[in-house]
Amino acid sequence: MKFMSKKPIDIGDGTWHSTALGDLFLYISRKGEEYNIAKEYQSPHLESLCKPLSVIGGLPEGTQVEERFYLQNNSDIPVFSLQLSDKPYQVKPAALVKIAPHSRLVLYVSTPLWLQVRSPSCGEVLAEYPAVRPRMSWVGSNTIEGSLCYSSQTSAPSNLSEVRHTKHRALTALELVNDGNKVLVIDRLSLPLNILSLYICNKNEYWTESVRYRVNPETGETTIVASQKPPEQLGEALQISEARSQNRASRFRTAMSLIMG
């Protein structure tokens, strides 16, 4: 089942509706021009969910309305959309990755999506929740230099056929190029999701643009280049949401410690 990429939230007056994605249960109701939103997360140990919007009897016990928003008129129906996370994701491959000098490797990593409720007229985000409650982390050489990010453990296979697709995660092809004369050891890596866009490909899988990291382990210099689209072998891919940070360059240089620290 394909989860909606931009679906109108056309719901009746006074009834609660529910949808689920990943670990997230999102509840929404309408009273005229007012929309109420509530959410809850299931245990991360349970199987991920993907349920379309459907009527429910009422809010589950103990769940509180978290947000209320008002739209101009009844014809202004909000829409669901999917988006990548608002911070970089620190990707931790299940096993240490070592790349020989002057070699390259492509890893496929997946990161959780965010479910957004948008106003159709202005496109502004009214509410958004991550499909999986993210764990905060820090990427940097020390506790002073660096930046906040989310963290995700991933199997990071290097073969496309081994990639496991889920409806609440987007995949990114990470090309790692070792430009130095030493072995490049990767324990974790910061993925700049805020400069990437979300695509849906023919097989209803979510992908981002591919990202290339050129690293020189001797100097620590790293160049990150985001390509214009997902891997070509996927066939045609349709962009369903733009990058959160439009101003940031798709190519930038940084210190190795600031993305792998």
Binding site: Q90, R133, R135, M136, S137, W138, V139, T143, I144, L148, S151, R188
Partner: protein, 276 residues
Amino acid sequence: MSELMASIAVGEWLRAALVILVGFFVAKLVSRFFRRVTEKSFTPHHRLLGSTLVFYVVLFMFLLSALKQLGFSMSVFLGAAGVLSVAVGFASKTSASNLISGIFLIAEKSFEIGDVIKINEVSGEVISIDLISIKIRTFDNVMIRVPNETLIRTVFTNLSKFALRRVDIVVGIAYNEDIERARKVLLKAVQSHQRALENPEPFCIATQMSASSVDLQLSVWVLRTELKDAKSELLIAAKNALDNEGIEIPFPHTSLYVGQHTQPLPISMVSEGKEP
């Protein structure tokens, strides 16, 4: 003096007034330009202070020019200003010291408005940084004024300089407990906690063997903005984890001896409702 004033023609007065008026607008323009130029490089507070300083310096120069228009001798005026400044300097030694300290503090950028700092026994949020003093709002909503000179002389702590803080929780476990198992239980409890950062990783070390317990220090990195809640929640999580695993957290034991060393306390059985 009145003769001097009377000798100045009306035209001179008007010209001087015009110079001051023009000076006022020029000073405003220059100060606004300063604010615009420093928009990205200065903090709002520094921009405000800088633009005020620029405004008064420019206005002062126009004032001097206006006085010259009126026929005042600048050398006499500056001489008088020098004598006056020495007199004012002696009279306001503390204020001058605070003023200079304030300039150093602003230049040093040790803290900004909104930072939480601790000076001696006082801690709170900085609500204003002025040339003479800073104002702190304590957590129980009391305003405290700290002279800048004190800040220059005293060690103070900026609690919100960096994005991350470490929460240290000291837990004592009974001497008969397995320390390694207790460490693992504590680490597991916080590793899955939402407020605990995954990297830098939490750690747990045995710190000392105290009177009644072996003390373990559980250190967890959290977001500075979540420090208060994180401290409480992590402490609860640690306590619950030890309770669930049946690991004893001992309280201080005291042995009490009464009377002679060899004689035990007399104990007698008392039946209900009867006097002994």
